[in-house]
């Protein structure tokens, strides 16, 4: 029942699949040592708050999808979100705010001519910090919305890393605006030295598939779509 997939360890003994599987999982077969994918872990139905957004604002639609994504993939037994990007942005941002506040306060208290050198210093520091922050957000963070890591222990400690980036594909003549999601998934072991699986997938669906006319989000449908993409990446497919 488990044909060998593209993962690197085709010749091992198949292990029993993770115990939380149920029959709604899209890929019933599992390659050896493959940890559970998100579709196999069901969300208790009472757990969800309704999400309602403004239908005409594409930014809000994207943010609603991103937030739903984060909630979905951060459930227990699934990935643990890495807050590195957020923390760096917060640190740089708050530092620049404090520099600005301090400089302004100093300039207010001290006589203009005397205060000039320090105010110059403060202003330049603020500009440098803001530039670093913008450069970081543009070049390094880019469109990434979720970075997750998971460590499971079957025979060895398996570490997985998944990175998701999302963009909005703007609407064209007949096509509604779409949510485009790309995933990058790596599964490795022995402290990252031996690669077990690697996958990169990409998918886009129009926002109208997840949001109805009033703006309420159909979270189950969204989660199903995301779960399929993630499981595809976990299989090691590249698309």
């Amino acid at each position: 029942m488990a044909p060998t997939r593209k993962s690197a360890n085709g010749g091992r003994d198949p292990r029993t699949p993770s115990p939380t599987r149920n029959d709604t999982a899209s890929s019933a077969a599992s390659s050896p040592e493959r940890p559970a994918g998100p579709l196999s872990i069901a969300t208790p139905p009472g757990d969800r708050d309704t999400v309602k957004v403004n239908n005409s604002n594409v930014t809000e639609l994207k943010h609603a999808c991103d937030d739903a994504l984060k909630r979905y993939l951060s459930r227990p037994e699934l990935f643990k979100q890495s807050h590195l990007h957020t923390d760096i942005r917060l640190a740089l941002g708050w530092l620049s705010v404090f520099v600005a506040a301090g400089t302004a306060l100093y300039g207010y208290k001290v006589e203009f001519e005397e205060s000039k050198p320090l105010v110059w210093a403060g202003l330049l520091t603020y500009i440098v910090l803001t530039t670093i922050q913008s450069a970081y957000a543009y070049f390094i963070e880019g469109n990434i919305v979720f970075v997750g890591k998971r460590k499971t222990f079957s025979k060895r400690i398996i570490t997985e890393r998944i990175t998701l980036s999302s963009t909005t594909v703007p609407a064209k003549k007949a096509k509604p605006p779409a949510y485009s999601l790309s995933l990058h998934y790596v599964r490795s072991t022995s402290g990252g030295k031996s690669l077990l699986a690697k996958g990169k997938t990409q998918g886009s669906t129009g926002y109208n598939a997840f949001f109805d006319g009033l703006g309420t989000m159909d979270q189950e449908k969204f989660e199903q779509w995301v779960g399929e993409l993630v499981e595809q990446a976990m299989e090691g497919k590249s698309s």
Binding site: H83, V97, A100, F112, V119, L123
Partner: protein, 152 residues
């Protein structure tokens, strides 16, 4: 009123809250920095001022905005419109320079490239007398009292 927001804050987590507050704070911070930067570039304590009185009509009316600079390398001349502050008074006054007296420079100051010290007398266009009364005791204005020269 706040219970909805508190609920969503708890759901979204502390980082989200910090990010939102940061957005707000950085708008204010950038405004402050732009103001300070403008002040540094024009070398003036308050580069944009509002005209409060009618003493410069018909040139300026109450409510007009003035852009100031305070070039350290130029002498002030008769006819320049300046904004000055008398120490001890809070409100800056915008009037035209009537007389300037450039003091003889000591050799040391001339070599350093500094401008000679100037003594200035001002008068509002629409006033009948010059500003001696407004000076509250001092006889002449000096450069250090001047916030800037009107540019536009």
């Amino acid at each position: 009123m706040f219970s909805e927001e508190l609920k969503s804050f708890r759901r979204l987590g502390i980082r989200h809250v910090l990010l939102q507050v940061l957005n707000f704070a950085s708008v204010i911070a950038s405004g402050l920095m732009i103001w300070k930067g403008l002040g540094l570039i024009t070398n003036s304590e308050s580069p944009i001022v509002v005209v409060l009185s009618g003493s410069m009509e018909p040139a300026f009316y109450r409510g007009d905005l003035l852009f100031l600079t305070n070039p350290a390398s130029e002498l002030y001349q008769t006819g320049d419109i300046t904004v000055y502050k008398i120490p001890g008074q809070d409100i800056p006054i915008v009037h035209r320079i009537l007389e300037t007296h450039d003091l003889v420079q000591k050799k040391k100051e001339k070599r350093a490239g500094l401008l000679p010290r100037q003594l200035l007398l001002t008068k509002g266009d629409n006033n009948a007398v010059d500003d001696i009364d407004l000076y509250r005791g001092i006889d002449w204005l000096e450069r250090k009292h001047i916030v800037g020269k009107v540019r536009g």
